[in-house]
């Protein structure tokens, strides 16, 4: 059964139970009221009987005619009460019947007494006979009334008992009602536990299993209710995710194979393409050395050009392999002190044979989280670039530092060298893209592509600002990239 239906059913059961309890309470309470009313009636009857007795005594003592009238009035009232009986129990009915019959007899006796009543004062001293008869009647009346009183007390006891019983019943009904509600509550709680809480806990465990990467986890068959449906749906979701992951893994394996082939290709390139270049360079040099005197200047120039071209191609191959290595290298993220690496690189650049006058301004204690080896390669390329493009600048300055921007650390390498036209900024980071002629500033055009790939592998962004003759600044962030953020200022001026 669906949980929603169970919930509706439970509500119906509770409402019915409450209704039944209310009805029971109401009807029991009506019985209590009834018993109370019967007691009131009994008391009334008792009072009337007591009055009758009093009147009878009074008459017996004083023989006032007024007593006769009183007797008949009370008697009539009592008759009315006995007739309009509202007692239900059979015993009460019997008592009532006896009361009625005695009352009828009492009325007869009283009528007889009234008939015998001396109408005239002269007849006051009456015969003994009539006097005796009267006394006899009075005593019979007295006995009847005494009996009736006894019966009424019995009736009073019965109605009290009945009232007490009704009250006890009311208590029992209320207690049973409360017990019933408690039982329903316990049942509902148990059902909620069995049908909702336990399956939800199981689902939670399953979800945790899957979250922990146990894709093979089986959710098992769910029941017919909503949670069962949810379990089933989650199971199919997990299965389809598992399938997708399987596909991704297969694709990854294919990619790994391709990557492996690519590596083999790179290896081949490294080995096989460089071989002929070595021959060209080596034998050109041998030619120059051994037979140079038999060539004129132009011939020797040709040979030098062959050597230069071979060596350039050697560098190109090396740089390409470097780019592919940067892409393949496994990242080991650690705190890296950029300042220290920059100082070291600056030192070796300043010692180059064809170096130029240059000031290095390196911010102290610049730290980032990155792969140290790749960071060194990136900085090497950036500083090489800055060094190269300031070679014709008097008072050359290269600055390395970082600044906060939108709560993120943005590192920069700024120079006041040749700069470039921002119109070509989008070509800057492409492999083999060069914005200067090789005879002006030599290079293969791969350095910045390597830097960009390293920054991208760290999830960062790199961008540059420059103007021709006004130096260039390269900014980069590490960590997740931000869309197209561009700085406005150029720290190198």
């Amino acid at each position: 059964m669906r949980i929603a239906n169970k919930e509706r059913l439970a509500t119906a059961i509770v409402l019915t139970a409450v209704g039944v309890i209310a009805l029971a309470v109401w009807s029991t309470y009506a019985k209590v009221e009834d018993a109370r009313r019967q007691r009131r009636d009994t008391a009334e009857i008792a009072r009337a009987l007591t009055s009758l007795r009093l009147v009878s005594f009074e008459y017996a003592l004083n023989r006032h005619e007024r007593a006769l009238a009183q007797f008949s009035a009370i008697s009539k009232r009592l008759d009315g009460m006995l007739a309009a009986s509202r007692f239900q129990g059979p015993e009460q009915q019997e008592i009532l019947a006896r009361l009625r019959s005695r009352q009828a007899k009492a009325a007869q006796i009283f009528d007889a007494l009234a008939a015998a009543f001396p109408r005239e004062a002269s007849n006051r001293a009456d015969t003994e006979l009539s006097r005796n008869f009267e006394t006899q009647l009075l005593s019979r009346l007295s006995i009847l009334e005494q009996d009736n009183l006894g019966e009424v007390f019995r009736l009073a006891d019965l109605t009290t008992e009945q009232s007490n019983a009704a009250q006890r019943r009311l208590l029992v009904v209320i207690l049973s009602g409360l017990a019933l509600i408690a039982l329903i509550k316990i049942t509902v709680s148990w059902l909620i536990r069995r049908d909702v809480l336990i399956p939800v806990a199981r689902l939670q465990q399953a979800a945790q299993q899957v979250a922990a990467g146990n894709w093979g986890f089986e959710f098992g068959g769910g029941g017919a209710d909503e949670i069962g449906q949810l379990t089933h749906d989650l199971g199919s979701m997990t299965r389809s995710l598992r399938d997708s992951i399987g596909q991704i893994q297969r694709s990854n394996q294919e990619l790994a194979v391709l990557n492996h082939e690519l590596e083999a290709f790179s290896y081949s390139v490294s080995h096989d393409l460089r071989g002929p270049l070595r021959s060209m360079d080596g034998f050109s040099l041998a030619l120059l050395e051994d037979y140079g005197d038999r060539l004129d200047d132009e011939g020797r120039d040709f040979l030098r050009r062959i050597r230069a071209a071979s060596q350039r191609m050697g560098h190109l191959i090396d740089d390409l392999l470097g780019l592919s290595r940067v892409t393949r290298a496994e990242l080991r993220i650690v705190p890296v002190n950029i300042s220290a690496i920059a100082r070291e690189l600056a030192g070796s650049l300043s010692q180059r044979k064809n170096g130029h006058e240059l000031r290095w301004l390196i911010q102290e204690n610049l730290e980032v989280r990155a792969d140290k080896e790749l960071m060194r390669i990136a900085l090497q390329n950036l500083l090489d670039n800055a060094w190269k493009f300031t070679s014709k600048t008097p008072d050359a300055v290269i600055r390395i530092g970082a600044r906060e921007r939108d709560g993120r650390q943005v590192c920069f390498v700024a120079d006041n060298g040749a700069g470039f036209d921002m119109a070509y900024a989008d070509k800057l980071f492409g492999a083999f893209q060069r914005l200067h002629h090789a005879d002006e500033f030599p290079g293969t055009g791969i350095g910045l592509a390597i830097v960009q790939r390293i920054v991208a592998r760290h999830g960062g962004t790199i961008w540059a600002e420059s103007k021709v003759g006004g130096g260039a600044t390269f900014f980069f962030t590490l960590g997740e990239s931000k869309n197209d953020e561009r700085g406005q200022d150029n720290p190198a001026g």
């Binding site: 080995h271 021959s279 041998a286």
Partner: protein, 151 residues
């Protein structure tokens, strides 16, 4: 023992590279005789006096082996493994001379017992410098291990 007895075994399949290496040795004043093996099997045949080199039985082992990695039949790492596995040759210095600078090749080379790893540069001038250093270190400065006679 004169330098004429101190043979260098150059294992190199590319004749251009072999010629250039010989030229570099010569220009570096390395006068030792150089034997060129063109693949890994030939190198081992020479070392262990087998096959075409059976007449070498009893002759001294080379003082230095210069080994390329990419070779036909048996590659350089295979040759190195065989050299280091044999008691007769396991003390002969081996210098790997290759165009590869793959980290993996470097690691495998050294872990298999190579004594040195030199990358062939495209620029012959650089190669000359490297060859000179090799000659000075392995042929003049370094005292070789006592000779073990081949059985």
């Amino acid at each position: 023992m004169t330098s004429a007895d101190k043979i260098i075994l150059l294992v190199e399949d590319n004749p251009d590279d072999a010629k250039l290496t010989l030229r570099a040795f010569k220009q570096s004043n390395i006068a030792n005789p150089v034997v060129v093996a063109r693949d890994g099997i030939e190198a081992l045949d020479f070392l262990f006096a087998r096959g075409g080199y059976s007449e070498r039985a009893g002759k001294p082992l080379p003082t230095l082996i210069v080994l390329d990695l990419k070779l036909p039949r048996l590659d350089g790492l295979g040759v190195l493994k065989a050299i280091r596995a044999d008691a007769r040759t396991n003390l002969v210095p081996v210098v790997i001379l290759t165009s590869s600078k793959e980290e993996q090749d470097l690691i495998s080379g050294y872990s298999l017992g190579a004594n040195s790893y030199v990358r062939k540069p495209v620029d012959f001038a650089e190669f000359l410098e490297a060859a000179k250093q090799l000659g000075i270190y392995w042929l003049m400065m370094n005292l070789s291990a006592p000779e073990r006679k081949a059985e």
